[in-house]
């Protein structure tokens, strides 16, 4: 059984504090561990060898690795709002009170009905999904999908009603050198870069510094690796220009030195205050990837039985956490490094019945000799025929590596198997932004090709791989490589030699991609490549036979490397199998693309502060608070919030809107129009410039007067409209639509900066300088006169004029413009005084029946008047001529934006849809956007259409539905009744084509 080693065992438990006990639960079972444990080490210490079920076949699975590469030990962590699926037990630090559940099994982890899938393994081969989802078609949704969804999959998604109670944040950091990976190479490189004076950030994904070095042993400058790591760390901590970050994973490397790092602040200690995760958004001049290497599994039959682990992981569990994976561990290897595991186990008093080495070496290497001297049996040229056991290892059957399996020479009882197929440098971060790899035949690994590094904004290489991530495996190589990396990253030669390391020499490995080398189909169908997605050697070979010769295709067909671990253990073995099946070399087959993030990062970290009230900016007018307090039903207009209506207690939304319209038409309405864009355009060429911006003439507008204008883009399409007021000879104030201000401001700046830069014009966006209040209705003048201060009589302030002065002591500018057809004054007031003026208008207006109104009442009133609205009557394909606005298009001007485009054939076509009014025959309201039906069908069998509704309302003034729409030949069809399709696709609604102006056609009411 797997268990915790006794406290007096030599050389074990360096990361745990046995004096601190921590309680946790696994599937409801109460267990204990120690401070410093990972969930995986604590589970193993409690003999919880079985930790999950596999994706497809529901096979029992145990911990394989000790770090980020773990494919099997995925658990659901936490409960309720804090529940998270698919968390790796190997990178989850234990804390008191942790709750974990295993995944993908029913009814229980020990007894899983889904395991029956395993018996049908022959029916679930590579491409199973593609082959299944063929026919009959109705089975897709109702038979196959529900079945597959129930039986396959990893963790469950959290409850849709769950809300993450934690907070997250981003942090922007700019550094000269970013070092990713705090192993011995990263520490050395960071120290060198720091000494060279660079601003350095060093990030390490785990909670500990030093990486594998303290476990793997050796000596540096006469000290143990552990002591050397402490010295390096102390030196780095003393440097002002170096920042160290543990629990911070380099997640992705992007263009121009942009790097994301994912810091986990409170996962290990949930009681801590502050954000849970922090996403570092780093700009680095140079990036050193010291990301280490990952040990490869060996592909033999039963290599997924719980208790089969990576040799390095076994070593880690013993040395770091004092966990014995079993009393007897058989080691299977193709290289020398696994022999270190034998020595570690033996030192801890555990049995190593045999080392099964696929190689046959001419002479013992130093490590081998040391193992042999310790009395451990070495079987060279041998292989694992199969692993015995179901939910845990009971032993291994041994055969000759040269054969095809089945001829078992010996069965060795054991509780654990430690396997090593060699090491693969972690080249992910090197590769994210285009770094290329080269195949190292001797070491059987892909390593970064320094001549083809990712390049930055000056075309310079900006990523340097260091240490094991660069293919350096021995201690001495790693340190030398780290120093060289720092030299390249800082462009400064070393000031001292790399530290002297002492480590045992190793014999070369022999590549082993399948064990035994000629394994029969029976063996291959139980030899797992991708544990997480249940892909076997036989699946990849089948894919090759079926023609998936590209590694990217084979990946998708078999799902190899497509799970949450992205094939950290399986990719190289998988493509080696593929290359074997295709008869191509491994470098010719190549790797699949490495994409960020390196391991999954939380959605919370990606969102950062963009949640809740800071999800997006909400723009508030100076009247916002009053509206909020008085029943506003909000409507988004760009980022602004405008009141759709201001409801009174007991009213429906519709009732409120009708009340607002009626009262404004009969008494007095107030509208918060602060969102209207306001741009000052000033300079000797301002008139000439606005003549280009607007379709109509603006240069001949008189100071003191206003004019409605249309703006088109160069395609000729309407983009904005609004009233322009001429302030003085060379100053205009242009109103834009709500939400259009920034866009139109930039549009103007674009033309001024990039096309007519010699014109003397300046533009300033003063939208937010002013609150704007529309005072509308028959009593509008009365309320302003009652407040007093400015003559707003018809002569002093005629329709389409403006005046400036003090209204009740408040400095204002009043525009006599109307978007409702009523007598109307739009009052611009400094934003800081807008609320004051609003309150004053409400107080004084009481006697005149004052009532604020919202955007829906505004829309109804403008529609009653036939005024168009940008975004309703226009959609980016509509020209002013379509809307009967020819009167606002100057014929005198030689040029304006859109003029040339409006001369194009398509714009002058006779059959363009044109604006008309629409009145339903039965008085009901047309559905917004409904299409007018024509004769016959188009080529796709769809009914031909001859128009559509652009605005539609119930008019309380007229007592029936009114609408505007674009209709083929519309203006020539006055009085004709046409049919519109309702949303249900069958019923129609009849409407008569009318003039779009429904109310006060002569415009007498606004001009009194």
């Amino acid at each position: 059984m797997s268990t915790r080693l006794a406290p007096n065992t030599p050389g074990v438990g360096r990361l745990i504090d046995r004096s601190k006990q921590q309680n946790f639960t696994f599937n409801g079972k109460r267990l204990t561990g120690h401070a410093g444990d990972t969930l995986a080490s604590a589970l193993l210490a409690n003999d919880q060898v079985l930790v999950g079920r596999s994706f497809k076949y529901h096979r029992p699975r145990g911990v394989v690795a000790s770090g980020a590469e773990e494919p099997n030990a995925l658990v659901g962590l936490g409960t309720g709002n804090r529940f998270e699926p698919n968390q790796r037990a190997t990178t989850t630090e234990l804390y008191d009170g942790l709750t974990a559940r295993s995944q993908n099994h029913w009814p229980s982890l020990d007894f899983d009905i889904g395991a029956v899938n395993s018996a049908f393994a022959n029916f679930l081969p590579a491409g199973f999904y593609y082959k299944t989802f063929m026919a009959p078609r109705p089975f897709w949704k109702h038979v196959y999908e529900p079945f597959i969804r129930r039986s396959a999959g990893l963790g469950k998604a959290p409850d849709p009603d769950a809300r993450d109670p934690d907070s997250y944040e981003h942090f922007h950091a700019h550094v000269d050198v970013l070092v990713i990976g705090g192993g011995i190479a990263g520490l050395e490189a960071a120290r060198r870069a720091g000494e060279a004076g660079a601003r350095v950030l060093l990030v390490e994904q785990s909670a500990h510094w030093g990486g594998r070095a303290p476990v793997d042993g050796g000596e540096v400058e006469g000290h143990s690796t552990e002591a050397h790591v402490s010295q390096l760390l102390a030196a780095l901590e003393a440097m002002e220009n170096v920042t160290l970050r543990a629990r911070c994973m380099g997640a992705g490397v992007y263009d121009h030195g942009y790097v994301l790092a994912y810091e986990r602040l409170t996962d290990h200690a949930p009681a801590l205050k502050g954000p849970r995760h922090r996403l570092w958004r780093i700009r680095a001049g140079q990036v050193i990837t010291a990301t280490g290497a990952i040990e490869r599994p060996l592909s033999f039959s039963g290599n997924d039985v719980p208790g089969v682990m990576l040799a390095s992981a076994v070593r880690d569990y013993v040395v770091n956490w004092a966990v014995s994976p079993g009393d007897r561990t058989v080691i299977v290897t193709n290289n020398d490094d696994a022999y270190r595991t034998a020595l570690v186990l033996r030192r801890a008093g555990l049995a190593v019945p045999a080392i099964i080495d696929a190689r046959v070496l001419p002479a013992d290497s130093p490590l081998m000799a040391e193992v042999r001297a310790a009395g451990i049996r070495i079987l060279q040229g041998h292989a694992v025929d199969h692993v015995m056991g179901g939910k845990r290892v009971r032993g291994v059957a041994i055969c000759s590596h040269a054969g095809e399996g089945g001829a078992v020479i010996e069965e060795i009882p054991c509780e654990a198997v430690a396997m090593s197929g060699g090491w693969s440098p972690v080249v992910h971060l090197w590769s994210h932004c285009g770094g290329k790899l080269t195949w190292d035949e001797t070491r059987a690994m892909f390593r970064p090709d320094p001549d083809r590094a990712p390049t930055g904004d000056k075309g310079q290489p900006f990523v340097v791989a260091a240490g094991a991530a660069n293919g350096a495996l021995t201690l001495g190589e790693v340190l030398e490589d780290a120093v060289a990396a720092a030299e390249r990253a800082t462009a400064r030669p070393r000031t001292s030699d790399a530290p002297q390391a002492v480590a045992q020499e190793e014999a070369p490995l022999a590549p082993v991609w399948m064990m035994p080398q000629g394994a029969s189909i029976h063996h291959r169908a139980k030899a797992w490549l991708d544990y997480q997605n249940d892909v076997k050697v036989s699946d990849v070979q089948l894919a090759a036979r079926e023609g998936f010769t590209s590694v990217e295709h084979a990946k998708r067909y078999t799902t190899l490397g497509m799970a949450t671990d992205q094939g950290k253990l399986s990719n190289i073995n998988g493509l080696a199998i593929l290359s074997g099946a295709l008869g191509n070399g491994i470098p010719e087959v190549g790797t699949t693309t490495f994409r960020p993030p390196y391991t999954p990062i939380s959605m919370g970290a990606i969102a950062g502060a963009a949640v809740g009230d800071t999800f997006q900016p909400i723009r508030r007018t100076p009247i916002h608070d009053w509206l909020e307090e008085n029943g506003a039903e909000w409507e988004p207009v760009g980022q602004w919030r405008r009141p759709y209506t201001i409801k009174r207690p007991g009213e429906t939304t519709e009732e409120a809107v009708q009340r607002e319209v009626t009262n404004t038409r009969e008494n007095l309405g107030l509208l918060d129009a602060s969102t209207l864009g306001k741009l000052i355009v000033k300079g000797p060429d301002a008139g000439r410039f606005l003549d280009m911006m607007y379709t109509n003439m603006m240069s001949n507008l008189k100071p003191g007067r206003c004019r409605y204008g249309l703006m088109c883009n160069e395609n000729g399409f309407l983009m904005d409209d609004g009233v322009v007021a001429r302030i003085d000879e060379d100053t205009f104030l242009c109103h834009t639509t709500s939400g259009g201000a920034d866009h139109i401001h930039q549009h103007m700046e674009d033309w001024l900066q990039c096309e007519w830069w010699d014109w003397q014009v300046y533009v300033a966006n003063v939208t937010e300088q002013y609150g704007q209040i529309a005072v509308v209705g028959p009593n509008a003048r009365k309320v302003l006169e009652a407040i007093g201060g400015i003559d707003v009589g018809k002569e002093a302030l005629p329709f389409m004029g403006w005046v400036e002065g003090e209204l009740g002591g408040i400095p204002v500018r009043i525009y006599r413009i109307s978007f409702s057809g009523e007598l109307s004054f739009e009052i611009a007031v400094k934003a800081g005084l807008a609320r004051h003026l609003w309150d004053l208008l409400l107080t004084v207006g009481k006697q005149f029946g004052v009532m604020p109104y919202g955007t829906e009442a505004l829309h109804i009133m403008r529609a009653e008047k036939g005024f168009i609205m940008i975004g309703d009557e226009t959609d980016g394909t509509v020209i002013p001529q379509d809307l009967g606005l020819n009167w606002a298009i100057s014929k005198k001007k030689e040029d304006f934006l859109g003029k040339r485009a409006q001369q194009r054939l398509d714009m002058a076509r006779a059959d363009r849809w044109k604006l008309v009014g629409l009145e339903t025959v039965d008085g009901s309201v047309l559905p917004d956007g409904a299409y007018a039906l024509g004769e016959g069908e188009n080529a796709n069998g769809q009914r031909n259409v001859i128009g559509r509704v652009t605005s539609s309302y119930h008019s309380p003034t007229l007592g029936h539905g009114i609408a505007m729409g674009l209709v083929l030949g519309g203006p020539d069809r006055m009085g004709e009744v046409i049919s519109f399709a309702k949303g249900d696709g069958t019923t129609t609604i009849e409407a008569k084509i009318t003039d779009p102006v429904f109310y006060d056609k002569a415009g007498e009411k606004q001009d009194v």
Binding site: Y258, E714, D895, K899
Partner: protein
Amino acid sequence: MLTLHCPCCGIQADETELAPGGQAHLTRHGPGSSDEDFHDYLFTRANPRGVHFERWRHAAGCGKWFHAARDTQTLEVFGTYAAQTLAPPQHIRDAITERRPDWTWHASGRATE
């Protein structure tokens, strides 16, 4: 996620401070122009794999437009310069030729290689 040097305020700006504005050095065709010229002005854009000239605005910064010469494949930036130019200035052309000896300027903005 590019960084571009804003020649107007001197900031090395993050892409998230910038707004893109498409191909640079287009010639405006207005009333009186031929259908073909106008069509090209509105719709025809170079889409090179390699050297390209673009308009950018330092939107969340000084608000000014500027031009950038960069390689669309490698994202190498050869330089940024004032928007108030009809063609890339000599120092930009030199910077490009230094890195891409086969490149020559054509008024259409399209490189021949």
